[in-house]
């Protein structure tokens, strides 16, 4: 249940629909399904197996496979921590918008409200501008919530997810029922579902699909290894992994109907085509949705409040699951109590999140998400597959997983981990690096791309290697 809660989050309701829209709606769905079955599910089975087998956090699990691999475990635990820094900022925005929805504070121009009144956005990523007080207050609320849930450990996580998994799912159903009954909804859904086979030749669509599957399910982030390490020795690995991945994909697929029906309604209300709405990144949740909410004929405020509560409850269990791998890793390696580790990490996380409260926060958030998801997660997934597939106990893991599972995995699984995922990811990474060099992300200055995109990713690899070297030194 905790793994399902972790997997289902803002990645499904916020990121999936906007990535889907940005990549041509139905053009994205087919690559998404293919990525799910060729990478998401096999990798999730692998991570569940590693966690279940080692019963330790990722750094110790990788170290147990090979002493020289400890860094890969640390790298995988630092990635979700990096994600949490901006993920919590989006949750803080949701928190503020949940309150704004009471009187539809964004008025008739949600875009001006979001960019100028709420975020006080500047002209570029290097221009800091003023601080947004509502975002800081939201950050304090969310980070405090995360600390309260995490410091007591796994037992509390188990209790929290009993509420945070079913509640937003029910809310999403209510919102979808309302959405699909709106005029124009069918055009929105048609845009979402109609496949565009010409998009299959676009490498960016494929990279976005694989990155979305990794981001959403939570693979290549150490999260699932950590959660699987808490499983009982008798727990079924394969079935749990498949159920988690399908529940996650099912929520994304469902959320597509919720969001695209409202997008269709908005396009019909404004008399423009769906592809002309120009939805990008957080605009979907904080501009498009509020605009549509304001246009609703009845109970607009209730609809708005429910939408942001759903986002918050979806997001909270993913947010604390992003901190848990690093907490568990530090607790295990340095013997520092979980309470202390959680307090320190939440304080560091909060301090770093403050970077996104200035006028350039929106630019930095999109930039960091682009680099961490498209390069960080994909690179961790690739390293995991190469290390374990080519130099690790892959065959043994297959036997191990089958021994504790009712549904058995065959030779296809080892072929996917050893050949298919590495080939696809190397190809995507190389092509994407070339693309990013030729056309820098959003035409931002190089210094911004380096400072907030490339350097954080390289820094966590260096820190991971340093921790491993320190461990090796202590042991000798």
């Amino acid at each position: 249940m905790a793994a399902v809660g972790s997997a289902i989050g803002l990645g499904n309701v916020w990121r999936f629909p906007y990535i889907c829209y940005a990549n041509g709606g139905g053009a994205f769905l087919l690559p998404f399904f293919i990525a799910l079955f060729t990478a998401g599910i096999p990798l999730l089975i692998l991570e569940f197996t590693i966690g279940h087998w080692s019963q330790q956090p990722p750094p110790a699990a990788f170290k147990e496979m090979n002493k020289k691999w400890e860094w890969a475990g640390w790298w995988a635990t630092f990635i979700p921590f990096l994600v949490s820094i901006y993920y919590v900022v989006i949750m803080a925005w949701c928190f503020a918008y949940m309150l704004y929805a009471i009187d539809l504070r964004w008025g008739t121009n949600a875009e001006t409200f979001f960019l100028q009144t709420f975020l006080r956005v500047t002209n570029g990523p290097l221009e800091f501008g003023g601080i947004s007080i509502p975002v800081i207050l939201g950050l304090i609320a969310i980070w405090t919530m995360i600390f309260i849930i995490l410091y007591k450990g796994v037992d509390r996580i188990g209790k929290v997810v009993l509420l945070t998994v079913p509640l937003p799912t029910i809310l999403l159903m209510v919102l979808t029922l309302r959405g699909i009954t709106l005029p124009g909804a069918i055009e929105g859904i048609s845009y979402y579902l109609t496949p565009d086979f010409s998009a299959l030749t676009n490498v960016n669509v494929w990279l976005a699909a694989y990155a979305q599957v990794f981001f959403s399910i939570g693979v290549a982030q150490g999260i699932m290894i950590t959660y699987a390490s808490y499983l009982k020795k008798t727990s079924d690995i394969n079935n749990n992994a498949i159920i988690t991945a399908l529940a996650d994909a099912g929520t994304s697929f469902f959320a597509g109907f919720t969001v695209f029906s409202v997008i269709g309604y908005l396009a019909a209300s404004q008399g423009v085509g769906i592809d002309q709405l120009g939805i990008a990144g957080p605009f979907l949740v904080f501009v498009t949705y509020p605009t549509a909410i304001s246009l609703l004929p009845a109970a607009a405020a209730i609809f708005g409040i429910l939408f942001y509560i759903a986002l918050l409850t979806f997001g909270i269990d993913s947010a604390f699951s992003m901190i848990e791998p690093l907490t568990a890793g530090i607790n295990h390696r340095f013997k520092i109590t979980k309470t202390k580790t959680t307090a320190v990490l939440c304080t560091i996380g909060f301090s770093l999140s403050l970077l996104f409260t200035a006028g350039n926060g929106l630019y930095l958030l999109e930039l960091m998400d682009h680099f961490v998801a498209n390069f960080g997660l994909v690179a961790v997934g690739l390293v995991e597959c190469i290390l374990i597939g080519w130099f690790g106990p892959l065959k043994y893991f297959q036997t191990y997983a089958n021994k504790t599972s009712e549904v058995h995995i065959g030779r296809w699984w080892t072929i996917i981990i050893k050949f298919i995922i590495p080939t696809v990811l190397i190809l995507l990474l190389v092509l994407s690096i070339i693309e990013n060099i030729l056309h820098p992300y959003m035409e931002y200055p190089w210094i911004a791309l380096l400072l907030f995109g490339v350097i954080p990713l390289i820094a966590i690899i260096i820190i991971s290697i340093m921790i491993m070297k320190k461990s090796q030194k202590e042991e000798t």
Partner: protein, 34 residues
């Protein structure tokens, strides 16, 4: 009305994702009650 290709994608998603989920949940439930 939805175009035929959209309808096919819808059915594909429903059968593969939700059908698959229902099947594996059933297997898990059956395994637990054995």
């Amino acid at each position: 009305m939805l175009p035929a290709s959209a309808l096919i994608m819808f059915l594909f998603g429903v059968i593969v994702i939700y059908g698959g989920l229902a099947y594996f949940l059933y297997r898990a439930f059956k395994g637990k009650t054995k």
